[in-house]
């Protein structure tokens, strides 16, 4: 056909029904989903893996946790023996992180301190999680008067200056890891409970919850099969972000001398010890300070990454 042909291309074509052939579509085949089946968790993991900063933080966290577990064993020193002939030594082949004012090995003490800080941080966060989810879940699920009373109670508790409560508690009870965890969780769970409450309140009016109710589902099924599993993203993120908070609070209390008692060390108490001579023996402050900063930074970045991965719409 010529390019400048002005007639329509099909103008002279005679078509009869025989020219057509039915190809046909298999309806069942048309509906088949090709993509690999992914659960919400697998999907989130794929997104998280793409976030380089978050993955680097995860690696750092794993390394810190591993070092806190095995670090004290790979040195020939222990954390409590004094060596008064070798006080305030700078880092050397013998003492990798130097020694403190009583000649104790800083390498072992730093990782022991990290161990204590991590235990306190994780334990406090987990207790916050348990109390917060139960309390917040009840508030959100039942709503109405139950919610009003319980929420008011948590607001009152929240309005008491938390340092005051903590210091009072630590003065009355013997300072120990247990007391510190108790002091941190006495008000720490409130934030978690508010997060859970908000999530549950929002989720309980979703149509899938109504659908489950219309089938006769009881409160247990609604709460544990529908509501909490769908609130788990924000819960995990809050959990991850509350660990560094607890670690920081512990360090702060230890820095004030209200934390674990010598010879047990935490990162905060080591920084406190180092304060007296930090101009002359900076390594005594440097190593615990770097470690605590790194831990908090890694937890925060990882928590942010986790939030983006679990709820991509927020980004």
């Amino acid at each position: 056909m010529a390019v400048n042909d002005t007639t329509l291309p099909n103008a002279n074509v005679e078509l009869s029904p025989e020219d057509f052939r039915k190809i046909g579509v298999d309806e069942k085949q048309a509906e088949v989903i090709q993509r690999e089946s992914l659960s919400a968790w697998q999907d989130a993991w794929l997104r998280l893996r793409k976030n380089k900063l978050a993955m680097a933080s995860l690696v750092v966290l794993v390394l810190i946790i591993l070092a806190a577990i095995i670090g004290p064993f790979i040195s020939k020193f222990n954390y409590y023996s004094n060596d008064l002939l070798n006080t305030n030594q700078p880092p050397s082949k013998e003492h990798w992180f130097g020694t403190d004012d009583l000649g104790r090995d800083m390498f072992v003490r730093t990782w022991m301190g990290a161990r204590i800080s991590l235990i306190v941080g994780l334990a406090a966060a987990l207790i916050d999680l348990m109390i917060g989810v139960i309390y917040g879940g009840i508030m959100g699920f039942f709503g109405g008067r139950v919610d009003a009373i319980m929420n008011k109670f948590s607001e009152i508790l929240y309005s008491i200056p938390y340092m005051l409560v903590t210091i009072l508690l630590l003065v009355v009870f013997e300072p120990s890891i247990g007391t510190i965890i108790l002091a941190l969780t006495i008000t720490g769970w409130i934030n978690m409970s508010w997060i859970v409450r908000g999530e549950i309140m929002q989720l309980k009016n979703r149509e899938y919850v109504l659908a489950s109710r219309s089938m006769g589902a009881g409160s247990n099924r609604l709460l544990f099969r529908h509501l909490l599993p769908n609130a788990v993203g924000p819960i995990i993120v809050t959990l991850t972000l509350s660990v560094p908070n607890a670690i920081f609070s512990e360090a702060f209390l230890s820095f004030l001398g209200l934390g674990v008692q010598a010879p047990v060390a935490s990162l905060g108490s080591m920084i406190n010890d180092a304060l007296t001579g930090w101009m002359y023996y900076p390594w005594r402050m440097l190593f615990p300070a770097i470690l605590i900063s790194l831990t908090m930074l890694a937890f925060n970045i990882f928590g942010d990454g986790l939030r983006d991965a679990l709820d991509p719409k927020l980004k």
Partner: protein, 309 residues
């Protein structure tokens, strides 16, 4: 129970307290019945209380007043254990196929949930068989039972919602705008599926919608709701041919006609007096809301709000 009325709703009211001494009369004294195997369409604009009425009829919301008899039993008077058993007979298909399926559940969890709640499947194998049967019934590939909702299209999701409702072998299904969130091309598929299932399983529907032409297609009778009240109720042919209440006339005049010439010359009826909204002061205030809500039968099977009869 008269004739073969499966559903009888009488004096149903659902008020919400919105604080500040205000209440919303979302559903205000509605009365109707649905015969067994029949489809009653319920139309009205957004916020007129259609969905609330549907949810209250299933007792997902506790009613403020009134009764709802299923096969002669007033379900509002049932204790929790009897109510749970009763829920097997009444199910609901929801409007938003994206919000009505739990994103953490697989398709078989979603459909199987009702089987678990009512212990309808004796064994794992039986449960799997029943789920595949239901998927097949709504035209979905049974191989997809292990998939998650986000992997499906809107129309497919709505089919999953239908399969879920059918799992307990209900007699009565409330379709709460089941097609308004779907593409027009998919709407017909879903409506035809619903009709086909009705013929096959002898279902009774309350079909809530705001799309009048679709409602006409599927319903035997149509009820018009306005500001929480039912203003007109008639056989679909009769209602569309001979509307009496001004609101019904307004609604019908808003249906687009697929003929440009007629459409161009058509006169839209706009209601002149804007009636008071559904928010009222708790003490009862403005006069217009006290309007008579009784329906009067003007011709056989054609009921209209008393002031217009």
């Amino acid at each position: 129970m008269k004739e073969n009325h499966l559903i009888e709703v009488e004096g149903l009211k659902k008020y919400f307290n919105v604080g500040g001494g205000k209440i919303v009369k979302a559903v205000d004294d509605i009365n109707f019945f649905i015969r067994e195997g029949e489809t009653l369409g319920m139309v009205g604009e957004s916020g007129c209380g259609k969905s609330t009425a549907g949810r209250t009829i299933l007792r997902l919301y506790e009613p403020t007043a009134g009764s709802m008899r299923f096969n002669g039993t007033d379900i509002y008077k049932l204790p929790p254990n009897k109510m749970k058993a009763m829920r097997r007979d009444m199910q609901m298909i929801f409007q938003d196929p994206y919000a009505s399926l739990n994103p953490r559940f697989t398709v078989s969890d979603i459909i199987g949930e009702a089987l678990d709640i009512h212990k309808l499947a004796g064994s794992r194998k039986e449960r799997k068989y029943r789920i595949e049967e239901l998927l097949d019934m709504v035209g979905l590939n049974p191989d997809h039972a292990t998939r998650y909702p986000h992997e499906f299209s809107g129309g497919q999701r709505q089919r999953i919602g239908i399969a879920r409702a059918l799992a307990v072998n209900p007699k009565f299904i409330i379709c709460d705008e089941p097609i308004s969130a779907l593409d027009v091309s998919i709407q017909a598929q879903v409506v035809n599926l619903l009709k086909e299932l009705q013929d096959r399983l002898g279902l009774t529907y309350l079909f809530i919608a705001h799309d009048l032409s679709m409602v006409k297609h599927i319903s035997d009778r149509v009820a018009v709701m306005y500001l929480g009240k039912m203003v007109e109720l008639a056989d679909s042919e009769e209602l569309y041919a001979n509307p009496i209440h001004p609101y019904t006339k307004t609604l019908l005049s808003a249906i687009p006609i697929p003929d440009p010439e007629i459409e161009e010359n058509k006169k839209r009826i706009i209601m002149d007096d804007e009636l008071s909204g559904p928010i009222h002061s708790a003490k009862g205030g403005s006069g217009i809301e006290q309007e008579d809500t009784r329906l009067v039968e003007v011709s056989k099977g054609h009921w209209v709000a008393a002031p217009y009869a």
